[in-house]
């Protein structure tokens, strides 16, 4: 008992880093509190309907105002899931290629290239997306699929403008791949050499060896996915240029929609002209906290299940 007590106090290093970690946690709590406090007004007016309806009636008469951000929540999750589905195979195969296969002279260049991609301002992706990616996807991906497979709900919407969940998802997938890839790559690089030797010594082919080694770094892959999802759902400028910005809930990949982040970016400038819009946007932001929490819990669940195995 006495040992533990004095031990705590003797360890001044521990004490000295405490304020900094407390600061970070405190900022997070404070942010959550601010979002909550600012959303109360809209919760009192509409209750949970802010999250369950799809309406956006901005009126200078406060009586008529009504905000429901369901379409934007749907769009945020939809486009981010597409992004992760695209980014995951890309980033895993890129990581494996860079570490195992790339000629050592090129390796560093590949890594530098992805680091630059990760650091590019998002507006650059956005403009490229609006002028190059969207017309390309529309003419060479969406219309061919729509013309032949429009009986499947996923492809049932005529891609008139090309601005759609798919465009947003593909652009986001490209944007978040460098992040997911660098986490997976570093973890893959760190696998002790004796494990590699062991795998090959039992006669595994290169494909089998890679499969076994990847399962060894599953926590890093899950972390990469969570980070990628978080980046994707929070992305603002680039998405709002390609998603279409219309309040729409449609199962089709080719339908235009909205996301929470682009909704806030679009509407915040003039929001305080209206009585309730600022509060509605804070509530919309708050929903992203919940989505983030849910994704993190899911990640933890996947990892814990692995430990039990």
């Amino acid at each position: 008992m006495r040992d533990a007590f004095s031990g705590t106090f003797r360890d001044t290093f521990k004490v000295s880093i405490l304020p900094f970690s407390a600061l970070i946690f405190g900022i997070f709590l404070l942010m959550l509190l601010v979002y909550f406090a600012n959303s109360i007004q809209i919760f009192q007016k509409e209750g949970i309907e802010i999250y369950t309806t799809n309406k956006w009636i901005a009126s200078e008469d406060p009586e008529k105002e009504f905000y429901g951000v369901l379409a934007a929540i749907y769009g945020s999750i939809y486009s981010s899931v597409i992004a992760v589905v695209i980014a995951l195979p890309l980033s895993i195969s890129f990581a494996v290629f860079v570490i195992d296969y790339a000629p050592s002279k090129l390796k560093e260049w590949f890594i530098i290239a992805t680091d630059i991609m990760a650091g590019l301002p998002t507006i650059i992706y956005g403009i490229w997306g609006a002028f190059v990616l969207v017309p390309f996807l529309k003419d060479f991906v969406m219309y061919p699929i729509y013309n032949h497979l429009s009986f499947i709900p996923f492809f049932s919407f005529e891609p008139l403008s090309g601005y759609s969940f798919l465009s947003a998802g593909v652009l986001l997938g490209i944007m978040v791949t460098p992040f997911a890839s660098s986490i997976i790559r570093e973890a893959y690089r760190m696998i002790p050499f004796k494990y590699r030797e062991a795998v090959f010594s039992i006669g595994a082919t290169r494909y089998e060896a890679t499969k076994i080694l990847l399962s060894y770094i599953k926590p890093a892959i899950v972390a990469g996915v969570i980070l990628a999802f978080g980046r994707a759902i929070g992305e603002t400028v680039a998405v709002s240029l390609v998603v279409g910005n219309t309040f729409n809930i449609h199962p089709s990949l080719f339908a235009p929609g909205y996301t929470i982040s682009s909704l806030i970016a679009n509407q915040f400038g003039n929001a305080f002209i209206y009585e309730y819009m600022v509060s509605a946007l804070f509530a919309a932001g708050l929903s992203l906290f919940f989505v983030g929490l849910a994704v993190n819990l899911l990640g933890m669940y996947i990892l814990r299940r692995r430990v039990h195995e």
Binding site: E60, S161, F247, N270
Partner: protein, 369 residues
Amino acid sequence: MSWKNWENLAVMGVILVILFSGCIQNSEKPTSLQTPKATVQETVTIIGSGATFPQPQIEKWIDVYSKVKPNVKIEYTGKGSGGGQNDFKQGLVDFACSDPPLKESLWRELEKKGEPLQFPMIIGAVVVAYNIPGIDNLKLDGKTLADIFMGEIEYWDDVKIRELNPDANLPHEKIIVVHRSDSSGTTKIFTTYLGLVSDEWKEKVGAGKTVEWPVDKLGRGDGGKGNPGVVAALKTTKYSVCYTELAYVYKENLKMVALKNKAGNYVIASPQTIKAAASEVSINVPPPTKGYKEDMKAFLNAEGENSYPIVAFSHMLIWKNYEDKARENAIKEFAKWILTFGQKDENIVKGYVGLPPELSSKLIREMGL
């Protein structure tokens, strides 16, 4: 060992303090730098914020004015009409610019703090631009335009459009409607106009800075952020139509729809047709001391053979009295300069139109400048 940790902590703390104090010093610097610069007259800095629509014009005025009056420094931040109104109310800026006139409720709040003055400074037009390859002279009337933006007309070769354009070879393609996704004075002007010319629009959609676009629910709508976003979407999307401001159409070389005015003529927005409309409606501009009485509707769908139907004034807001008299003089001189020399053709940016001379002299008289 333990002391070293405390030392490290102390060093970190000192660094933090230096960083923060650096910020504070930076923000104080300008005042200390300006004092020795003052020569005969002291330098006055005027700060304004507000609408982005007249921003290029205001920047041009500031540029020219700073050559005439080197001792007056003017800074303008474009953040939207609403942002400017709020800054002005909070006393953060000396003047503000707003496209829509102030609402009465805000005006009353301002009157508790002083005497606000609102005057139009420049005229703009909202135009309908389109992207149909091979079609160059599209003509529409207000009712048909409203039907298109409501989504009731689905194809470009609809009978209603064909009737107005008998010679055009309109394609059987779906119409894609591009609108603003952010809240905007441009949307307010455009939707107000559509409400004037179509009862159905007024009932179903209404007017406002953001509206619920019925065409979005049909999947043929697309929202772009700001005028640049709308124009980018229009350029990359064939068979689309949008509304934007005249200056952007000139800049991006877009095709404009000729709109049917009240007299029944089809007119394209141009300095001549906008001026024609402005001189018809400038009688409806209220005195600057009663700015809230201005009604946007009174300027739309103007009479006159050659009047373009969707014009709007962009306004400036100042106080009648400022605590600092040197500042008050500088602001009023600038306002007067805008209404006189600022309205000359060489000081007007392409895409904007100056006020009719009789209106600007009336405003100067009423404000006692």
